[in-house]
Symmetry: C2
C-alpha cells in the first residue's frame, strides 16, 4: 500500500485517525457493515468532506452510493496506526497520574499494554498497581532493553522530567509521551509528544474569551485529544 501514494499525511489527519478508529469500533460492535462518509463524520464529530479527504490520504475512497466497508476500513486505519501489533508501555513516576495511567483500561483496548512501572521513592518500590510491581528507576535499562516496541511515559514532576527522559532515551525506547510540564530535548531522533492538561484549559479559555473568533467545529473538538 505504501507505494500507492506519496506518504505526506498531514498531522491533523493523523490525529483524527484514532477518532475514526473509535467511531468504527463502535459501528463494528453494533453490527453495522457499511458506512457513508456522512455517517462516519457524524459518529466521529467531524464534517463529511474532511472524512473523505482524510481517508483519501490512506488511499481509501469508498464506493459511491454505498460508502465504506466498516471492518475493512477499521483494519486499514488500525494498520496505518501501527495497532495491528502490540506496543509495550513503561510508565515512570507513580504519583496520582502514574496510578491513573497504569489503571487506565484504554491502553489495553488499543494494543498498548503497560508492562512496567518505575519510581525513585523507596516507599513506593514493590507496591503493586494494576497487577504490576513498581520498580526502582535503576532497573529501567534492564527492563526496556528486552522490549522491541516500547513507549516510555513520563508522569514524573517537571523538575526531574529531563533526567527521566534521558534515561528512557538511553534505555532505547521507540517513543516518549511526556505528561510533565517541561519542554524536553532528546539526544537521538525519537518521537516525542507532550500532553499538558493546563494547555487544554488555556485553549478552552481562549475560545470562551473570544467568541468572535471563527473556528471550525471539528478543530475545536478534536485537535486537543
Amino acid at each position: 500500500m505504501a507505494d500507492r501514494f506519496v506518504r505526506r499525511i498531514p498531522e491533523p489527519t493523523v490525529v483524527r485517525l484514532p477518532v475514526y478508529q473509535r467511531a468504527l469500533l463502535a459501528l463494528s460492535a453494533g453490527g453495522v457493515q457499511t458506512v457513508s462518509s456522512a455517517e462516519l463524520a457524524e459518529a466521529a464529530g467531524v464534517n463529511a468532506a474532511k472524512v473523505r479527504k482524510d481517508l483519501s490520504h490512506l488511499g481509501t475512497y469508498g464506493t459511491p452510493g454505498t460508502g465504506y466497508d466498516v471492518n475493512f476500513l477499521l483494519g486499514q486505519v488500525r494498520r496505518e496506526l501501527g495497532l495491528d501489533r502490540e506496543w509495550q508501555v513503561v510508565i515512570v513516576g507513580m504519583g496520582n497520574l502514574g496510578h491513573a495511567l497504569a489503571r487506565s483500561q484504554r491502553f489495553s483496548t488499543q494494543n498498548f499494554r503497560a508492562v512496567a512501572l518505575f519510581d525513585i521513592d523507596p516507599d513506593k518500590i514493590g507496591e503493586e498497581v494494576a497487577g504490576l510491581p513498581i520498580r526502582h528507576i535503576s532497573e529501567l535499562q534492564a527492563v526496556v532493553g528486552g522490549i522491541s516496541r516500547s513507549i516510555g511515559v513520563i508522569a514524573s514532576p517537571a523538575s526531574v522530567a529531563q533526567d527521566v527522559c534521558n534515561r528512557l532515551v538511553e534505555a532505547g525506547v521507540a517513543a516518549i509521551l511526556n505528561f510533565a510540564p517541561a519542554i524536553l530535548t532528546v539526544s537521538r531522533p525519537l518521537q516525542l509528544r507532550q500532553v499538558d492538561f493546563s494547555v487544554e484549559l488555556q485553549v478552552l479559555a481562549f475560545y470562551v474569551a473570544h467568541p468572535e473568533v471563527t473556528v471550525e467545529p471539528e478543530d475545536a473538538s478534536l485537535s486537543g485529544l
Copy 2:
C-alpha cells in the same frame, strides 16, 4: 486591540500560545527582558518563522534587531488566552484521574482554580482532596450556578460521561474538558474539548510505524499537548 486585525486565528496558533506563555514565563523568571524570535523559538521548541507568524496573528511584530519585550509579550499572550482573570474549575469523577487533576499544581499557576469536586459514590462523598471536599453530583447545579467563569472537567468513566456532560451543560458551565473516552454531544453552543491519552499513544505509534512520513518537528512535539 480586537479591532486592529481580522480575528481569524488558526487553531494550531491558539494551541501554541500556551507553549509560548510557558517559555515566556521561564524567560521572565530568569530576568530576561527582550527575546528574539529565534530565542523564543528555541525555548518553545518551534521554528522562528512560525513564532513570528503566530505572534503576528496577535498584532505583535517585535522590534527589528531587538526582538520582543518579554513581559509585554507575556502579558499580551496571557490576555489573549483569557488568563488575566481567574477560571474556576469543577471536576466530576474522583477516581485516580480526578485525584491527579485536583492535586495538579498546574491549574493554579495558570489562573485556573479547582473550586469543587463531585462524584456519585457515597463512599467518596466528604473525602477531602487538595483541601476540597468531594460533593455529591446532585449539588452540581447549586455550586456551578454561583460561578461566572467556570470550566467543567469530566473525569468519569465513559459509560456515564454523556450524563455528566448533560448535567454540566444544564448547570451552566462556560466550557467542558472531557477526559472520558466517549464522543459527547451538547444541547447548547459550548466549547468542548477532549483529551484522550490513548489517542496520543496512537499518534506516536503511527509515526514510529511510518518513519518515511515527513512531519515538521514542531508539529510532532506540540500538536498533541
